[in-house]
Amino acid sequence: MRRSSVDASIMAADAQKKGQDAKLEETCGSMGDAPKVRLVTKKLLKGHINKVNSVHFSGDSRHCVTGSLDGKLIIWDTWTGNKVQVIPLRSSWVMSVAFAPSGNFVACGGMDNMCTVYDLNNRDNTGAAKIVRELAGYEGFLSSCRFLDDTHIITGSGDMKICHWDLEKGKKTMEFNAHAGDVVTMSLSPGEGEQGHGNVYVTGSVDRTCKIWDIREEKAKQTFFGHESDVNSVIFHPSGQAFATGSEDKTARLFDLRADQQLALYTPPNKTSGFTSCALSKSGRFIMCGSDDHSIHIWDSMKNQHNGTLGGHENRITSICLAGNGMALASCSWDQNVRVWV
C-alpha cells in the first residue's frame, strides 16, 4: 500500500518534470519591462486601538472591513476615510474577516472557534449591526472565511478542515478534512457575471501545501508543493489559471493549475522576513506581499523582478487586499493602522 502511494507521487513528479520545458523568465523575454509601481498611502485609517489582523474589500471596491484584537470590526469608506460602522465583537480574538461581495454582510472569526455573520443593513438598538448567524462546532480557530454569496460561506480552520455553510438554514452543508495542518488562507477563483466567482477555490496551510478544490466536492483536485514553511496567504490570479502565495519561508510563488506546478519563486532584495499576505494586480502583472519586515514588496510577476517596496507601517503587516477594480490596495498591521494605497 505504501509502495503504491509512493508510486503515485513519483508518477506525478515525473509528469511535472516533463512539463518543465522552459523557465518563466525566459519565456517572458519578449515582454517589455514593467513600469515602477507608484503607490502612496492616500488614506491612513486610524481607529483601532490594538493590532489589526485582517482586511477585506467589499465588491463595491469602496468599502472594506477590518478586524482587530481590540474586539471591533470597522467598516471603512476608503474614498473618504470615514468609519461607516463600528461593530463590537463578543470575542476580541479575531483573526479573519470577510466582506460579502454584495456589501450586505460581513463575517469574522478567530480564537473563539466560531464564525459570526453580521447584517450591515439591520442594526440593533445600540446601532450595531445585528448578528444573523453564529457558526459553531469548530475544533480549532477560525483562520479564514469567504462568502460565495449572501447565503453561502466557506471557512478554513485550525482543526485542518474546510466547512461550507448555508446561512439561510444556518446549517453546515459540507465538512471535510482538508490538509495535514491548520488551513490558514483561501481564495475564490474569479468568475463571470452575477456570481462573481468560479467554482474553484485554493487553500493554503501550515502543512506547506496549497490545494485546489471544486466548491461542489469534498476531495481536493490538486496539491501543490514547493514552499518550505507555512503558506500564509493564497490569492487567485485574475486569469483563473494560476494563483500566487506568500509564505513563512520568506518567498512568494506563482503556481499554475493546468501545468500543475510552480512557475516562479519571488524573493525580496533582503530575504529577512516571512510574508503574511499577498495580492495580485488586476491584470496579474504585479504580485504584492505584506511582510513581517513592516513593508509591502512588489514584483513584476512575469520577469521576476523586484519592482518596489511600500514603507509606512511601523510593525508587521498582517493582511493586504486589492480592491476588485484594481485601483487601491488596503493593508493592516500590528501598528493598529490601516492604510489605503493608491
Binding site: 520545458d21 517572458c28 500543475d260 512557475l263 488586476k282
Partner: protein, 70 residues
C-alpha cells in the same frame, strides 16, 4: 509529505487521492506561461498599477476641491 497514517482504510484513501491527482492532464510550463502572458497583455489597460488613471477625475481617492455655491 509527512502524514500520520493510523490505519489501512486511511492509507487507502490517501493512495487513491494521490492516484487521482497524479492522473490529471497537464500542459507544459512554456504553454502555461504563454497563456498567462497573453491574459496580462489583453488586460493591461484595466490595470491601474500598470497604466495609472486616465485622468484625475477617474480616481475616486483624489482630494476633492471644495465647491462654493454661488
Amino acid at each position: 509529505m509527512d502524514m500520520m497514517i493510523s490505519n489501512l482504510a486511511q492509507q487507502r484513501q490517501v493512495t487513491e487521492q494521490l492516484r487521482r491527482e497524479a492522473a490529471i492532464k497537464r500542459i507544459s510550463v512554456s504553454q502555461a506561461v504563454q497563456d498567462i502572458m497573453k491574459f496580462i497583455t489583453e488586460h493591461e489597460q484595466e490595470d491601474c498599477l500598470l497604466v495609472g488613471f486616465s485622468s484625475q477625475k477617474a480616481n475616486p481617492f483624489r482630494e476633492k476641491s471644495t465647491c462654493t455655491v454661488l
